[in-house]
């Protein structure tokens, strides 16, 4: 019984630590993601995204489409581009990590 309680305590502590870590990481993703969106990648010039305060009207309004809430979909677009949208990943405009971060950011905040 004591052993089970011990394991339970360890599990709870582990969950707590993981939760804190992922919470901090997620905060970083949101902050860095918005920076990449508005500055390095310049997504803001072409897209509406309320969370980032952007009002670009060349590409789709990211708050309008459910596709924008799908991280795999967004990442594919950022990586490969489409039409007038540059291939931010393939063309080396963003690092793989930056592609990942900005995609997660957009998928998290789009439509909210």
């Amino acid at each position: 019984m004591a052993l089970i309680l011990k394991f339970r305590n360890i599990s709870i502590i582990t969950l707590f630590i993981v939760s804190i870590t992922s919470s901090q990481s997620w905060g970083d993703v949101m902050k860095q993601g918005m920076e990449i969106f508005n500055e390095k990648a310049g997504c803001a010039a072409c897209h509406v995204l309320k969370h980032a305060g952007s009002k670009g009207n060349i590409g789709p309004n990211l708050d309008y489409s459910k596709d924008s809430q799908n991280v795999a979909y967004v990442k594919d677009m950022v990586q490969n581009g489409l039409g007038v949208m540059p291939a931010f990943g393939n063309d080396g405009i963003l690092t793989p990590e930056e592609v990942d971060i900005v995609s997660k950011y957009v998928a998290k905040v789009a439509g909210k």
Partner: protein, 402 residues
């Protein structure tokens, strides 16, 4: 999620090549009964539509994004002509605003590659020559949603297509007024005036070149279905290239040039190329002439046993659609259907009906059109971006008859 079979026909590589001589087309007759909806009002069910198309009928549209919307399969109606409030929306550049366009009668069209280059205003074009023609306007990617490899881009099924009546000035009249073509003209190149100035023209300018032979039928239009072309459909002046995919019908057209080479911008050189999956490049065919195609419009899901009218549309691309067949057993046996409604020329689509009697059960209803000696293939031509789908199997409908 719908299941889609992976039906591959790799042998179909050259279906866009070759074209019969394009003869004149019958002008759309004012005598036929055509329902025309007007563009200059806000639709009562516009809720959820972006501001630039508040006048559209929301319930007729499938929304892919705020800039890409297709017509519900049944919302093309049973007339030949598609109501303007139902027409699909697909723009590569943002729709120009009234402020950007300015006084519409003073819209300018620059003409180059002729003996006497000129710039015309819209008013001048309206007094230079006039033609009225019905054409199918179809996005190159119409049917992309049927490709199992999920090509990137809007997942259009049948609704990125419409049959419309345009009025405008023939390109041939413009050429004549400019003293004829300069030597070496091989392409008709149209340029849109809608690119925002901050963008790089090489990457963002909508400029499309089509073979010079297309100038016989091409015109610049200011009217569609009886109204001035709305900004969202490329007004006040739009290139119309009968029989060619939608991208060649350049919106907000500001320049026509008769050129020796195809344009070198991205939208001509690398985009809209029909390449094998995994490959891309300007060596592959451009989305030019549309192939023969048809699809069922009704019924779409279910029907009562007994008498049943199956209806649909059939188009021939640059050739007159000559024959339409329907199968209710997934293509095992075919019967001839009949065309209905007015024949509005070879660039328009024809409505067809097939009258049958069905017992309760499940049916796969498909249609197969023929034009210029060619019939629709069973399978799509697999290609990277999911362009030019005209296979009959994917366009069929599964019906439960009770």
């Amino acid at each position: 999620m719908k299941k889609r079979k992976n039906n591959i026909n790799p042998s179909r590589r050259k279906f866009l090549t070759g074209s019969a001589t394009v003869a004149g087309v019958a002008a759309a007759s004012a005598l036929v009964p055509i329902k025309v909806s007007y563009a200059n009002h806000t639709a009562s069910d516009a809720k959820g539509l972006p501001g630039f198309i508040k006048w559209k009928k929301r319930s007729s549209l499938i929304i892919h994004s705020d800039k890409t919307m297709e017509t519900h399969r049944e919302a093309i109606g049973s007339s030949v002509i598609t109501p303007i409030r139902h027409i699909y929306i697909r723009n590569n550049m943002p729709t120009m605003t009234d402020a950007q366009i300015g006084k519409k009668s003073q819209w300018k069209l620059k003409v180059e590659g002729v003996k006497n280059p000129k710039t015309f205003t819209l008013s001048q074009l309206q007094n230079l020559g006039r033609t009225t023609m019905a054409t199918v306007l179809q996005c190159s990617g119409n049917g992309r949603g049927f490709f199992p490899h999920k090509p990137r881009g809007s997942q259009w099924e049948t609704g990125a297509a419409a049959c419309l009546i345009w009025t405008g000035c023939p390109v041939s009249a413009i050429i004549k007024d400019c003293g004829g073509l300069a030597s070496g003209a091989k392409f008709l190149t149209a340029t849109g005036a809608d690119m925002p100035k901050q963008l790089n023209p090489k990457k963002a300018l909508v400029e499309r070149s089509i073979p010079i032979k297309a100038q016989k039928d091409a015109f610049v239009a200011w009217e569609v279905n009886g109204v001035n072309i709305p900004n969202s459909h490329g007004g006040p002046l739009r290139m119309v290239t009968p029989g060619y995919f939608g991208i060649n019908n350049v919106k907000h057209v500001g320049k026509l040039a008769f050129t020796g080479k195809e344009s070198s911008v991205k939208y001509m050189k690398s985009s809209y190329r029909i390449s094998p999956i995994g490959k891309k490049g300007s060596q592959y065919p451009s989305c030019w002439e549309m192939p023969v195609k048809s699809w069922i419009v009704s019924p779409l899901k279910s029907a009562k046993s007994g008498n049943l009218v199956v209806s649909g549309v059939a188009m021939g691309g640059t050739k007159k659609v000559s024959n339409i067949k329907v199968s209710v057993d997934g293509g095992k046996s075919w019967k001839k259907a009949k065309f209905t409604g007015p024949d509005m020329g070879k660039f328009a689509w024809r409505r067809f009906v097939f009258e049958t009697k069905l017992k309760p059960g499940s049916y796969k209803i498909v249609s197969k059109a023929s034009a210029g000696g060619k019939s629709q293939p069973k399978l799509r031509m697999e290609n990277r971006r999911g362009y030019a789908h005209n296979g009959w199997l994917d366009h069929g409908v599964n019906i439960k008859v009770s």
